[in-house]
């Protein structure tokens, strides 16, 4: 669409800008302020990049970051294919479609700490269905002692919690494909795989980018669920970035280093968002060009 050039549009954006700036810029500037000062009681000294150097060399941050990437990529690798598969399996119309939609959406609307509590109850060896069941099968399942068990459980929990988002995005993407495409495929006697590869998947690219973007950044912020389920343990095997930071800022009152940590954390996310932003914008441009060419 050709947009009209009009700087009065700023007036439409202004209320939004004021509100978001209040919530975003003031706290961000406070963090920047802390990150370059050493605060002792009422007096503050300018220390420059000291906290940044210290934080970057902090093994806690480094290992939390590695765990974070491992976690984010694992859940993406499971949730994206699983989400697509579920979207393909969902009924297309009738009351079954509504019922399945409502049931599948449920996990998305459970508060994050309740997700943690729910899985804590579900996986406990003494009272939980999953924990008790696995122990009955002869495996000494224990998420508070065994790091592998804790990891696997957190990943299953996240798959339970967030696969619906990918599934719903793909489902609505699939609904937008005109029936004529499928008819043409039937005339060509295209195999199911060919239909998926050449009709459905290309139409899903847009929604999948949105889904992967949302999932990636939320997995990077994950806090409440592992905090409630495992408390970050055993040891620090399931302590991800957010929790490391929260412990530092609130628990230990290390204002300077935790502010430096915040900024590094924010920069990582910023870099990733930039990559996604450029990808989305290019996709929209390609689409616009294709449409213009077709017309």
């Amino acid at each position: 669409m050709n947009k009209v050039e009009n700087n009065k549009a700023w007036f439409l954006v202004l209320p939004m800008l004021v509100l978001v700036a209040f919530s975003a810029i003031i706290p961000l500037m406070t963090v920047v302020n802390y990150s370059v000062q050493d605060i002792l009681g009422r007096s503050a000294f300018f220390v420059g990049s000291e906290w940044f150097v210290q934080t970057l060399n902090d093994s806690r941050l480094q290992s939390a970051l590695m765990r974070q990437f491992a976690f984010s990529f694992t859940i993406l690798a499971i949730q994206v294919p699983l989400g697509i598969a579920i979207a393909l399996l969902m009924p297309k119309k009738g009351w079954q479609a509504s019922a399945v939609l409502i049931l599948i959406t449920l996990p998305l609307l459970v508060p994050w700490n309740v997700v943690g509590s729910m899985w804590q109850i579900f996986t406990r060896g003494d009272i939980g269905l999953m924990g008790y069941g696995i122990r009955q099968l002869g495996y000494p399942y224990n998420i508070t002692r065994n790091a592998t068990d804790a990891w696997v459980t957190i990943i299953i929990m996240d798959v339970w919690h967030w696969t619906p988002l990918i599934a719903l995005l793909c489902y609505s993407g699939l609904r937008a494909i005109p029936e004529a495409y499928y008819q043409a495929a039937r005339i060509d006697r295209a195999s199911k795989w060919a239909v998926f590869r050449y009709i459905q998947l290309p139409k899903l690219t847009n929604v999948l980018v949105i889904g992967v973007l949302l999932r990636f950044m939320h997995s990077f912020m994950i806090y409440a669920e592992p905090f409630v389920l495992t408390g970050g343990g055993p040891g620090s095997s399931t302590t991800f970035l957010s929790q490391t930071l929260a412990t530092m800022a609130i628990g230990q009152q290390d204002l300077g280093p935790s502010a430096a940590f915040s900024i590094i954390y924010f920069l990582i996310i910023l870099a990733v968002s930039y990559v996604f932003y450029v990808t989305i914008m290019n996709m929209q441009k390609d689409k616009a060009e294709n449409n213009a060419g077709g017309a």
Partner: protein, 300 residues
Amino acid sequence: MSQSTITNTQARSEAPEVTSSSGLTRAVSRQKGESVGRNRFLLSIYLLFTLLPIYWLINMSLKSNREILSVFSLWPQALTFDSYIKILTDPSWYMGYVNSLTYVAMNMTISILVALPAAYAFSRFKFIGDKHLFFWLLTNLMAPPAVFLLPYFQLYYTVGLFDTHIAVALAHCLFNIPLAVWILEGFMSSVPKEVDETAYIDGYSFPAFFIKIFIPMIRSGIGVTLFFLFMFSWVELLLARTLTATNAQPIGAIMTRTSTASGVDWSTLAAAGVLTIVPGILVVYFVRNHIAKGFALGRT
């Protein structure tokens, strides 16, 4: 049975091509029937996986603590609603739900009101700095609340909003307004610009056009946006807990009360958890017809 039908058809029809083609259709539809059955089966396995933890939570909430810790059973042996009665009659418990719903409603109202004109500006006009502004918005969507915890606490404490509903509502605007702008922009861009132009020729002023014509056209988009706003504000706890103490404490923070030195009150914890899912079910029920179309966020 099916064979006899085929013979009947063959006997009745005179042209052999018709028979063979109807046989083919039958074979295809039988194959389709099998794959529908398999799809149903696979889907039910996934639904079972989705529902089991929720079922277990409900199961726990209907047992007494003594029963939970003494016997392992797949359903309550002695059904009891004590935990629910306790939560729904004790103000220090049920006010948590009221507080959470209050700030969620405030946040939804504020976010949608400021996001509608902003999204319209992004979808229709080019203006100085528009792309940078949009990117900056997206980065806020990704700002991890943990980064802002301490500054938020200090900011709201300084301006005297600490422990009020509006503080949490404003704090959630950080990620909800960008999200709303982003989703609405997609829906608005799929409305042809000729609609705007025709309305102006017909003598509509901008506000009249926007409220009477444009907003009704993107109803399902607004529905989906509200769903997302509700979802992210309802489920967020970190900021909500940091910015409140007693008057506006969300239910998620109150739930931590169930674990004491003498052990965890599993039954009450489970009942409180079950009750937090109820508003979500109501919201999905209302938007269920928009989900299929709207979840693609106008970007298919």
